[in-house]
Symmetry: C2
Subunit: 278 residues, 2 copies
């Protein structure tokens, strides 16, 4: 593991690390914000951020303004890349398949199955690495944006007990029913749509054993709202099983980091409440 | 004038506009944040941000987290590009001369004099355009980073009465005495170093008629500190004439936007105090 960036930030430090991922079979990078308490060796809870299509570990750490909130709450914040990377890793010319578009699942179809195991990376390998390398508690939260909002919801729903809190901005809530998800799931998982349900938050919430409250923020001016995101599908599924969901639709906001930054303080407060059982 | 981006942000709107600059003889872009009060037509004070070498209007608006502060204070924030641009505009292959490196002065040497009049653009044309096009008061502040910190200090010192407040992050305080400035001033202004003094904050402060308090933040871990920035030169000049300067050296901080974001709230507070006479 090699540190390739470090910047003092809000009394703590924003770092970027590179490591060899055994799960993915390639080098991976992640951003990690260490609040001042962590720099002093105090053990801190960890929030995992999953980014959207085309992103790397850089987008969130440079554009969201998250460090101010992480410093205030004393959280470590980890921002991984969005897919395996490298010349040996299968790719596609489109922005919504292959590198930069891992969809936080474990692929079973060729040529993707060899490297595309982002679920195992995010839920197993990366937390183990973080918790062995930095002063963390075992308190974890997970959140993300768009494809990463899908990833956060699915990862939390698939791993009961693993996360104290989950939230999402503009998530792809029902990938089985929208073009981005249909394309990715067909490639990564194959034609059997029954298998898709295990990677679809709207499907998973129907059988969730843990009633982790979901906070979802969505811009009403988001160009992908009606075609790719469709939060009403998650809302209906949550209502059917009385799964707790706070879905907030914000007039005028789009799909950008300007939207994320505007409401990020509320997400940190949501995770802080989950972390302390309030 | 054409709006080319708009994003809801912290209850207001981040926009990017393109216009034809008569001063510079080319198309120019600027970012403008309009707080919610401005969207309702209420007249708001305006803060001008000048960016550093290689930057465009995008760096500050995407990386600094300024919108949160602008929304809280009810300020319009304008972030122009750092030089004239375009195929007809003289350029240099180096990152520190030509396009992206206008140094906020009026060039007198060929081939630069034809377009490189960033001082007149920043101090005259742009404020006139902003004040004619958006709901502003006549209360103005100016701040910036690195080359833009130099630009903010020089612009305020050259135009007494024009700005209520000025501040800078990691400014080039004495361009006449450091490599970045020597290279740029030789090209833009020529070999007569007496002419350079009119574009050098440390020289200007010696004869300043207005005692506008200067706030300067500098990272002690900044790679350019000892060679290009040298804040001690400004400090000594201010001490000689009792010009008010608050110079803060922050251990560990570097030259990046992570540093700017960490202390930006204090700069907004400084400008708010200047705006209200507190």
């Amino acid at each position: 593991m090699e540190r390739i960036e470090q910047h003092a930030s809000f009394g703590g430090r924003q770092e970027v690390w590179k490591h060899v991922s055994a799960t993915l079979g390639c080098d991976m990078r992640f951003g990690i914000y260490l609040p001042e308490a962590a720099l002093r060796g105090q053990h801190c809870p960890v929030l995992y951020w999953l980014s959207g299509l085309t992103c790397t570990e850089q987008n969130f750490i440079t554009k969201a303004g998250a460090q101010a909130h992480a410093a205030r709450h004393g959280f470590i914040v980890v921002a991984p890349d969005t897919s395996p990377r490298g010349a040996q890793v299968a790719d596609d010319a489109a922005y919504d398949l292959g590198q930069g578009a891992g969809f936080y699942l474990n692929a079973v179809q060729a040529p993707w199955a060899a490297h595309y195991r982002m679920h195992d990376y995010i839920a197993e390998e990366l937390p183990a690495l973080i918790e062995a390398s930095f002063p963390t508690t075992d308190v974890r939260g997970i959140f993300g944006h768009s494809m990463g909002g899908h990833g956060a919801l699915v990862t939390a729903l698939r791993c009961p007990g693993r996360y104290r809190s989950v939230s999402a901005f503009s998530p792809i809530v029902a990938p089985s029913q929208v073009p981005w998800g249909e394309k990715a799931f067909s490639a990564y998982l194959g034609a059997d749509t029954a298998a898709w349900r295990q990677w679809d938050a709207t499907a998973l919430v129907a059988t969730a054993q843990e009633r982790l409250p979901l906070l979802v923020d969505q811009g009403a001016g988001d160009e992908f709202l009606g075609t790719q995101l469709r939060p009403e599908l998650l809302k209906a599924a949550c209502e059917r099983t009385a799964h707790p969901l706070e879905l907030r639709i914000h007039p005028g906001y789009d799909h950008s980091y300007y939207f994320i930054a505007s409401f990020l303080a509320d997400h940190f407060a949501h995770h802080a409440a989950g972390f302390t059982g309030r």
